[in-house]
């Protein structure tokens, strides 16, 4: 019954398909498949106009776009917080929606921008335990899961501290641990580098690279996208306008200008060696 126990004997990797996966050949199934997704807010404002996006298992993709492009709206569809007006979202073969909302929310680990929104329990330990406990994990198994997640982000020794007593960078790492504890299929990061000092920013990058997870990263920090994500997609006015290797997209001056994307002063995306897709 418990969707989490299916992967309990595989610590260290969240990519092993759980028994809830529909077919034995689940390795072929992409982590995320968004097709024809359209959505209008109740006030009539249409945010998405038919978005198609497929993210194969293990790939790291940056979702770029100016403010108001619909990035957050897209992210909130991935775990069924918003219900598509048209089209569908499929996570590792499971369609996001009513009957299996809990499993979808476990599979899609969203790390929100402000860790103070994400970390709502009195201690780090309780916060990391929240997701797995909500899914029915108890006792020693739960403790082990919490420890494992905190260990992966290097915060195990802070388990008993209150989130508001941690530094901002530490809080963001704990926020990542809170979703890792659910052993997600895909990690969705909303502006992961915002408000971080350069050292904390680099530590978070090291952490994301070490996870070996499917990652969708929403960001305005283009060098960060280049460093971490071999592939990028650009969302502008509710449509995906570009999809390709990050270095290529960032070097396309026309595309960048057309969608209000700007590189930091003096930064040349062609001057660095990047991970291959």
């Amino acid at each position: 019954m418990d969707p989490l126990t299916s992967t309990a004997d595989n610590p260290g990797t969240a990519r092993t398909p759980g028994t809830a996966d529909p077919a034995p050949g689940a390795a072929e199934v992409p982590s995320l498949q968004v097709s024809g997704l359209a959505y209008a807010y109740p006030d009539g404002h249409q945010a998405l106009f038919g978005v198609d996006l497929t993210v194969p298992r293990g790939q790291r993709v940056a979702l770029l776009g100016p403010n108001g492009a619909g990035k957050t709206t897209l992210v909130l569809h991935l775990n069924g917080i918003l219900t598509p007006g048209a089209g569908s979202v499929t996570v590792a073969g499971l369609k996001a929606g009513r009957p299996h909302l809990a499993e979808i929310r476990r599979r899609v680990g969203i790390v929100f921008q402000d860790p103070d929104d994400q970390l709502f329990m009195p201690t780090v330990r309780e916060d990391v335990a929240f997701g797995p406990a909500a899914a029915g994990l108890r006792g020693a198994e739960l403790e082990a899961r919490v420890h494992e997640a905190l260990e992966r982000v290097g915060m195990a020794e802070h388990a008993d501290r209150a989130p508001h007593h941690l530094s901002f960078g530490q809080r963001r790492r704990v926020a990542v641990a809170t979703v890792l504890a659910g052993r997600p299929e895909i990690l969705v990061l909303d502006e992961p580098s915002s408000n971080l000092d350069p050292a904390a920013r680099r530590e978070l990058a090291d952490l994301i690279l070490s996870l070996e997870l499917t990652v969708l990263m929403v960001t305005h920090d283009l060098p960060y996208a280049l460093e971490l994500c071999p592939r990028s997609v650009v969302l502008s006015d509710g449509v995906l306008v570009a999809d390709g290797p990050t270095q290529e997209l960032l070097s396309d001056v026309e595309l960048m200008r057309a969608h209000r994307l700007e590189l930091p002063f003096g930064f040349d995306p062609r001057s660095v060696t990047v991970p291959v897709a």
């Binding site: 809990a102 899609v108 969203i110 103070d116 329990m121 909500a134 508001h164 659910g182």
Partner: protein, 254 residues
């Protein structure tokens, strides 16, 4: 603003009192306070005995008396009412140091003061030996309605965040040359309070979103940590209310 400093009550330590499970301590303090309130006010000696009892617990907990006494100052505003009683109460008047006071008022004042002080002392002692999150866990274990537990948990978590936000807004006001000097400036303060409310409300919505994303369905999962308390722990915690029960009964019979 004191909200952000609620945890300043706690005094870290490793005494036997610190080690007891929070729900045992909560139950013990609650029973103790009930017994103190149930003691007849004429049994003056009993209140002395209660004080000694609390002092003994404080000694075992190794919390410095200074820490406890300074934190008991919270009682002061409530004492004002007790001080007024002898002057305003009806009944037989007696003269003390040249003042004509009501005898029943004096007893009333003593009653409020003695019982109030003992209650505050016991609570401060509890708060000094128990972390806030343990207290919340303890309340949950004692079957406090889950909704109230959740509200208290969020209050503890976000008191600091919100007071920090308030401090930033104050800094922003000061930086733009604003200083509240009189009623003319209350409008600005009211607007700040309003926007703080809106910000907190919106944060509440974002937190709810984050909770939903992690599988929240309306009930909090049961807490981590040690399970129900053992018999020995309950027995040790019962020492305080049981002794108090003896004193209370003696107070009624003697």
């Amino acid at each position: 603003m004191g909200a952000g400093h609620a945890h300043k009550l706690y005094k870290h330590g490793h005494s036997p009192v610190h080690a007891l499970p929070a729900h045992c301590k909560l139950a013990a303090v609650f029973c103790f306070v009930l017994l103190v309130v149930a003691t007849p006010r004429e049994a003056v000696w009993a209140f002395g005995a209660y004080t000694l009892l609390l002092a003994a617990v404080a000694a075992v907990s190794r919390v410095p008396p200074r820490h406890l006494l300074t934190r008991m100052a919270i009682e002061v505003p409530f004492v004002a009412f007790a001080v007024l009683l002898p002057f305003v109460a009806e009944g037989e008047r007696i003269t003390v140091w040249g003042l004509t006071l009501s005898e029943s008022g004096l007893w009333g004042a003593f009653n409020v003061l003695a019982k109030g002080t003992l209650g505050v002392a016991a609570s401060v002692l509890l708060a000094s030996t128990t972390r806030l999150d343990e207290l919340l866990l303890g309340l949950a274990r004692l079957r406090m309605p889950p909704l109230l537990c959740q509200i208290a948990t969020f209050m503890v978590r976000y008191a600091d965040v919100i007071s920090e936000e308030m401090r930033r807004m104050r800094t922003a006001r000061l930086s733009r040359g604003f200083e509240a000097r009189g009623p003319r400036h209350w409008g600005v303060l009211a607007k700040s309070a309003g926007s703080l409310f809106i910000r907190s409300y919106e944060r509440g919505e974002r937190v709810h979103l984050a909770m939903l994303s992690r599988g929240y369905t309306g009930t909090m999962p049961p807490a981590l940590g040690d399970g129900p308390a053992g018999r020995a722990e309950w027995a040790r915690s019962a020492a305080l209310p049981l002794t108090a029960l003896a004193i209370c009964l003696l107070g009624w019979t003697l």
